[in-house]
């Protein structure tokens, strides 16, 4: 699994639970190192060992932690670059939802060896959507749930999100877009990034 994903897990655990707990997680996982490198590739089973060690050490269901991780990735200042890249997807939340179809391609444009599962948005009716998360990265739909929730806050929109089961091995997230500009979102300016 790509180092960026492993590093995201590390950043989330370190920031939320502290560096000591992360060390305990890595001790239990038994990989022989503590820090992941964002730009290296690691065997998938190493990531799986880390995730199951997290459940044991942090004593929380994995799906909950993965959703929190999605929220962390959007709302934590450490991950500001990622929030900005997601905000490039659309000027409002609905446009952002539609841009998710392109997310794996966009990710690959930035980092050519980063492969994310395909995403497909289907409009069921006005303000009613289903996001289909193709299989390939276990827990990805939980992380996406957290990202969708945090991005709604970022745009200041009110949404209701639900896991709506599986279809052909793909996880489905039901999105109900209740209100635009429900609260004050965070600002986004194209040129805010200093190069």
């Amino acid at each position: 699994m790509h180092g960026l994903i492993n590093k995201a897990i590390q950043a989330f655990v370190t920031d939320t639970y502290g560096a000591d707990r992360w060390r305990s997680v890595m001790d239990l996982a038994g990989l022989g190192f503590v820090e992941f490198e964002a730009m290296l590739i690691y065997p998938d089973d190493q990531s799986h060992k880390v995730l199951s060690a997290m459940e044991t050490v942090l004593e929380r269901p994995l799906v909950e932690m993965l959703e929190d991780m999605g929220t962390f990735l959007v709302s934590n200042p450490q991950a500001e670059a990622l929030r900005r890249l997601l905000r490039f997807g659309g000027v409002d939340y609905v446009e952002f939802l539609y841009s998710l179809d392109d997310l794996p391609d966009r990710a690959r444009l930035a980092v050519s060896d980063l492969h994310l599962p395909a995403l497909e948005l289907i409009e069921q009716g006005p303000g009613q959507f289903e996001l289909i998360c193709a299989p390939g990265l276990p827990g990805f739909s939980n992380v996406m749930m957290g990202i969708l929730r945090a991005m709604a806050d970022d745009y200041g929109d009110l949404v209701i999100l639900d896991h709506a089961g599986q279809r052909d091995g793909a996880d489905i997230i039901a999105v109900t877009h209740v209100e635009s500009q429900f609260a004050e979102g965070r600002s986004f300016s194209l040129g805010a990034h200093s190069l």
Partner: protein, 329 residues
């Protein structure tokens, strides 16, 4: 046939950075994004060359030149600050005027900051937003790679540092000495090479064990460092053999002093687990100065001869290399 107003409305939708001029070079229409860049300017009726300065191609100096430039890539700037660069292409209009479509070109990165532009300021088919996305994404990825490179560089330096260090004593090892010595000789430095060999070390090792031997070696390293300056190099070249490279120091009386102080300190008993380890040392020194310059192997050989002469003269002594020692050896 379209009226000028219809053309202007139509163009504003698909070309938010267009300018229409009449045959005399007066602006009759400007797109909304362009207007946003100069909100104070009275666009309608303004003289094109009062607003923009043409930079390339050089032959375009007048309205007439510009109107005949159809299809060519034009480079221009705003006349006033900030002098944002723009690219443009002109198509002639039937009434004798011209339609210019503009874009920022590479200056877009500054432009979005200078003018606080948003997605709505660009045509939906314009790839600028994708380009800005890509610039940020690639910068973030590049930064992550740069940090990885820096950490790898740090690890490499640490590994090299270790490889040049004798792990028991912390002194430099033989490999490190070869590097330092070669560099000093190549630079034509004057220096002294002192070979120090412990006396009675084997007895300590045999009677009190290797742990005691290790403690003695660590104490010896400490003494060598204490008796030399930071610029000097202390090396453990073998089991109980050491070499000192004393940079810029070739005064025999000073060297004699250093060697004697060293031997004296090493003769002080070294405590280990309640017992005392007693050793001494012999030393031989050669001076790297004067012509012709000798190579590393020769210098080490000369210091060896001096050392063995010192040992033969009854241990705990220091001698300088003399040419006659070659015969004796």
């Amino acid at each position: 046939m379209m009226t000028p107003q219809q053309l202007s409305d139509f163009a504003s939708k698909i070309c938010p950075m267009h300018v229409i001029i009449d045959a005399s070079g007066k602006i009759t229409s400007a797109g909304p994004t362009l207007r946003k860049l100069r909100p104070e300017l009275e666009w309608d009726g303004a003289d094109f060359f009062a607003v923009f300065t043409m930079s390339r191609p050089r032959w375009v100096r007048t309205v007439k030149d510009m109107l005949s430039s159809a299809g060519a890539k034009l480079h221009m700037n705003f006349d006033s600050e900030p002098q944002t660069g723009l690219k443009a292409v002109l198509a002639p209009l039937p009434d004798g005027g011209g339609f210019l479509n503009m874009s920022f070109g590479i200056s877009v990165l500054e432009a979005v900051q200078d003018y606080d532009l948003t997605s709505a300021d660009f045509s939906p088919t314009d790839l600028t937003i994708e380009m800005l996305y890509l610039v940020e994404a690639k910068s973030a990825a590049m930064e992550a790679s740069r940090q990885l490179n820096m950490r790898l560089q740090g690890a490499k330096i640490a590994a090299e540092e270790q490889a040049f260090t004798d792990t028991l004593t912390g002194l430099k090892n033989r490999r490190a000495m070869d590097h330092v010595l070669a560099r000093m000789i190549a630079a034509g430095r004057e220096f002294a090479l002192m070979h120090v060999d412990l006396d009675f070390f084997k007895q300590v090792n045999d009677t009190m064990g290797h742990a005691a031997g290790d403690a003695v070696l660590q104490r010896v390293a400490q003494v060598l460092v204490e008796c030399t300056r930071d610029a000097d190099t202390a090396v453990r070249v073998g089991g109980d053999e050491f070499i000192l490279l004393l940079d810029g120091l070739t005064d025999p009386s000073k060297l004699e002093n250093i060697a004697n102080r060293l031997i004296q300190k090493l003769e002080q008993p070294i405590p280990f687990e309640g017992k005392m380890c007693q050793i001494s040392a012999s030393a031989g020194t050669t001076l790297a100065k004067g012509a012709p310059p000798r190579d590393a192997a020769t210098l080490i050989h000369e210091a060896d001869l001096a050392l063995y002469a010192a040992k033969n003269a009854g241990r705990g002594r220091h001698l300088f290399y003399q040419p006659h020692m070659e015969m004796a050896g």
